[in-house]
Structure formats: C-alpha cells, structure tokens
Symmetry: C2
C-alpha cells in the first residue's frame, strides 16, 4: 500500500448564487478594494489516502467526494493527487 | 490596467484543531473509507483583480486577505495569480 496526498477543490457550480462570496465582495468594495470582482468562495480539502495505485487512490477519493465531502447537486469538485 | 485571476487557499495553521475536518474524517471512517486520514478542511477563494502589474495585484490581494478574507491569527493563506 502506498500513501498518496490529495487536494480537493470544491466550488459552487457556475450559475448558482454564491451568497458568501457576494457578501465578502461587497465588504471589500466598501473598504479600499474596489478593483476586486467576481469573488467566489469554495472549500479546500487536504487528506492522505492509502491505496495500491494512483488509480485506486483517485477512485476512493472520488467516491468519498460524491458520497460525503461535496454536494454534487450544487458543487463541482476537482481532485489532484500526488505520491 | 490589466486583469489578473487570483486563487487563494486558506487553511487553519498547523497545530490548530480542525473540528470540521475531524468530523468529516470520522464520518468517512464509519463508512467504507478507513484508509483516508489527516483530513483538513479550508477555504478556497477565486477573484479577479485589476492592477497595473503582477506585483501590485499581489499586494492588493495580500492586503485584502489579511484585512478581511482570512483570519491571520489562526489561518495561513497562499495566493497564486495568473494573468
């Protein structure tokens, strides 16, 4: 079994209103940051996974994402794995 | 003025208990994912910023992070900027 390090980026799907991001963007505009736009906030997950191969590691993490870590109805996720 | 795309990864500092991450990890262990460990959850922010140069863009985003987007007392953030 090899140990893999995995990073998962989870963002709301395009078209779904990101209320948290909009609120932060509005707050920035009321400070000195008028030139920041299109701010969106998502989640970032780091984890270690033990698997026989890169492919198995990817399959395990993908399954964990779709079952618990992300909400595939409203969120897109992108997995990157390194050894 | 050029438009830059910026990605910010915000994680709790090492040593600070990540309650949300621990909870998700425990839930995964009670499912079929016993081989996932060291799960930590942070935030991921995407934004556009207008600036004269890469250096100015980086300075603006760094300032926005330390003043509002992240909490530098308990969080580390990493900024990556592309044109």
């Amino acid at each position: 079994m090899k140990k893999y390090f995995c990073e998962i980026k989870i963002m709301l799907k395009r078209g779904i209103l990101d209320v948290q991001g909009k609120t932060v963007e509005n707050s920035l505009h009321s400070m000195e940051f008028q030139n920041i736009t299109n701010l969106r906030i998502g989640k970032f997950v780091e984890l270690n996974v033990e698997a026989e191969s890169y492919e198995e590691a990817k399959a395990i993490v993908d399954s964990a994402c779709s079952k618990l870590i992300a909400n595939p109805i409203i969120e897109d996720y992108h997995i990157s794995i390194t050894e």
